[in-house]
């Protein structure tokens, strides 16, 4: 009996807390649904909930119908792609953070530490300066992010072995160099045209979301997150001590790089369409861990749902709180940094208590 109940929870073998976990997931799904809906309706041009749902239904059932009404154009061409992009990016960033924290056995790391974000930023800034937009920009962002990752990989590999600490420090080194080059690009950029574009893009925003951008970013975001999710049990094993993981048949180094590459795909896709958005990858997995525990098999999906909802809410705030839109990265930093500070202190207090 209990086996059957537990199996519904996705984890066989009997879980006494299955009801709690199921409730948490139901609540997370509800939160995501509500935040998506609110984001569709709220804004300078308010749309009633029933009308928004009717418009989406119409868009789904008859996508070729000509759009006439103002609210129709706003919802289907502006808000839906924006909301979809925010949710996908948030879920992707959160699952990246969750996976990296497992691999590094350190709850304080995030996608930024591998240098991927700064690498991607350099690629994007360079593309904007050269007047490149659209798909080539995405490609440049992605390639630059991967270059940063490979550089970190080379730097961190000392006499054939990669240690966690050297990866983190190498990420720091590569990030600094890439950030310096980004600053240099800003210094030489045309202050009339490309400089504002670079600055705004670096601050992170979903304001430029279009269906085209959704199509460009979603394959990487969805595929990367799906593959990380399918590695969820492996992540439990990878989070063990090196020798333990190896003795259980895990090729630790190779599998770690597989996860890094998936993270690069996700972060590259996200940065390409919405710029640098920090903090989600570190704050959300922590919240997910508090809600459902440490097992990656439930922690990863919880991170995805929570990350998607959180980013949608933050994005809604960013465009509705004031008359002018606040860059998203600013809000995530303002919200995320204090949460991180509290987590950091608690983490080290717990450690010293042991």
């Amino acid at each position: 009996m209990s086996e059957g109940l537990a199996a519904r929870n996705g984890i066989p073998g009997g879980t006494p807390t299955w009801t709690r976990t199921t409730l948490v997931f139901a609540a997370l799904l509800a939160l995501l649904a509500v935040s998506l809906l609110v984001s569709l309706c709220a804004g300078r041009f308010g749309v009633p909930v029933t009308r928004a749902l009717a418009l989406i239904w119409q868009g789904l059932t008859d996508p070729s119908a000509p759009m006439q009404a103002m609210d129709e154009r706003i919802v289907l061409l502006v808000r839906v792609p924006r909301v979809v992009l925010a949710a996908l990016a948030g879920g992707g960033l959160a699952v990246c953070g969750a996976a990296l924290q497992g691999v590094f056995r350190n709850p304080l790391v995030s996608p930024d530490i591998l240098g991927i974000s700064q690498g991607a930023a350099l690629g994007g800034a360079l593309a904007i300066m050269l007047g490149i937009w659209g798909f080539p920009l995405i490609a440049m962002v992605f390639v630059a992010g991967m270059v940063a990752l490979v550089l970190v990989g080379f730097l961190a590999r000392v006499s054939g072995r990669t240690e966690t600490v050297t990866v983190i420090l190498s990420g720091l080194v590569v990030s600094s160099v890439f950030a310096a080059v980004v600053s240099l690009l800003q210094f030489v950029a045309d202050p009339e045209t490309s400089l504002p574009a670079i600055v705004y893009w670096l601050m992170g925003s979903f304001s430029s979301a279009t269906w085209e951008r959704v199509l460009i970013a979603s394959p990487g975001l969805i595929l990367g997150a799906a593959l990380l999710w399918s590695l969820r049990f492996r992540l439990n094993v990878l989070a063990l001590d090196e020798a333990e993981a190896k003795s259980l048949g895990v090729r630790t180094e190779r599998e770690r790089w597989l996860i890094f590459a998936l993270v690069a795909v996700i972060v590259g896709s996200q940065v390409a369409v919405s710029g640098i958005i920090g903090w989600i990858g570190i704050v959300i997995p922590h919240a997910a861990r508090l809600l459902v525990g440490h097992d990656h098999r439930v922690m990863l999906p919880a991170s995805i749902l929570l990350g998607a909802a959180f980013t949608t809410i933050i994005d809604t705030l960013a465009r509705t709180a004031t008359a002018a839109e606040i860059p998203l990265g600013v809000i995530t930093a303002l919200v995320g940094a204090p949460i991180f500070a509290v987590l950091l202190r608690r983490h080290y207090r717990e450690r010293s208590d042991r």
């Binding site: 086996e3 066989p12 073998g13 989070a239 001590d241 333990e244 259980l248 048949g249 525990g293």
Partner: protein, 252 residues
């Protein structure tokens, strides 16, 4: 079968393991004895392939049931979720453990007597309980080889007894090659067929327990006078034990 052949491990200029050879076939148990810092753990790691050999070779199956001294794990998982990780090699990268794997893990927890706290968080268990969960994980791998690094080091006498009874019963089944390191020669007497004495001068002595775990060799191993005593156990059978005759002890 698991073992080393003329294996040498150096840390810088210091040779920690010098042309060490031993082998443990399926069905036999080996206790590795030696003073602190003599390289017991290094020999174990070399045998498992976690430590590069400067010379010589190792023999080991691809999957070994390995029980670390302590499990450094900052994840809060249930004991059963730790034990089921033993199935990782059978699952490959992208698959999740199913009911069958959990059944194997439960059987292993039953075998080690840890089934009672299968659902409890691993990091809340006592040292002895954790050891039994980790041993269950090693059994769940299905490997014919079990390797335990100082399994009794952090255990009180009651838990040492439990662990040794368990190791002895596994030895009696003769299905596995078992290797464990220990400080206490009595552990070798209780649960091993062979012993490897890693002497302070860098040499090593490998052979059946009856020949190697003897006062003369142990005195050379620890630099302490040793005596063998015969004790009657609870069932009346005689047990051999070795004791250090520490200087200064004048009790009674």
């Amino acid at each position: 079968m698991i073992g080393l052949s003329h294996a040498t491990v150096r840390f810088g200029a210091r040779t920690v393991v010098d042309r060490l050879s031993f082998s443990v076939p399926i069905g036999r148990s080996l206790a590795i004895l030696g003073p602190n810092g003599r390289g017991k753990t290094t020999a174990l790691r070399a045998m498992l392939g976690f430590q590069r050999l400067h010379a010589g070779s190792r023999t080991a199956p691809s999957i070994v049931g390995y029980v670390p001294q302590v499990s450094v794990n900052n994840q809060r998982l249930r004991a059963i979720d730790i034990a089921v990780m033993g199935r990782a090699a059978h699952l490959g990268l992208f698959r999740q453990p199913g009911d069958e794997d959990y059944a194997v893990a439960r059987t292993a927890l039953n075998r080690t007597g840890a089934a009672g706290y299968a659902e409890q968080p691993f990091d809340r268990l006592s040292g002895g309980e954790r050891q039994l969960v980790l041993l269950a994980r090693a059994l769940a791998t299905g490997s014919e080889v079990l390797v335990l690094d100082e399994p009794a080091a952090a255990l009180d006498l009651h838990n040492q007894e439990r662990l040794l009874v368990l190791l002895e019963s596994l030895r009696q089944e003769r299905h596995k090659a078992i290797v464990f390191t220990t400080h206490d020669p009595n552990h070798a007497l209780a649960a091993a067929d062979d012993a490897l004495l890693m002497m302070p001068d860098g040499s090593a002595l490998f052979g059946p327990v009856a020949e190697t775990v003897a006062p003369a060799h142990l005195e050379r191993l620890y630099g302490v006078p040793m005596r063998t005593v015969e004790l009657s156990g609870p069932a009346g059978a005689l047990h051999r034990a070795v004791l250090p005759a520490f200087a200064g002890a004048r009790a009674g």
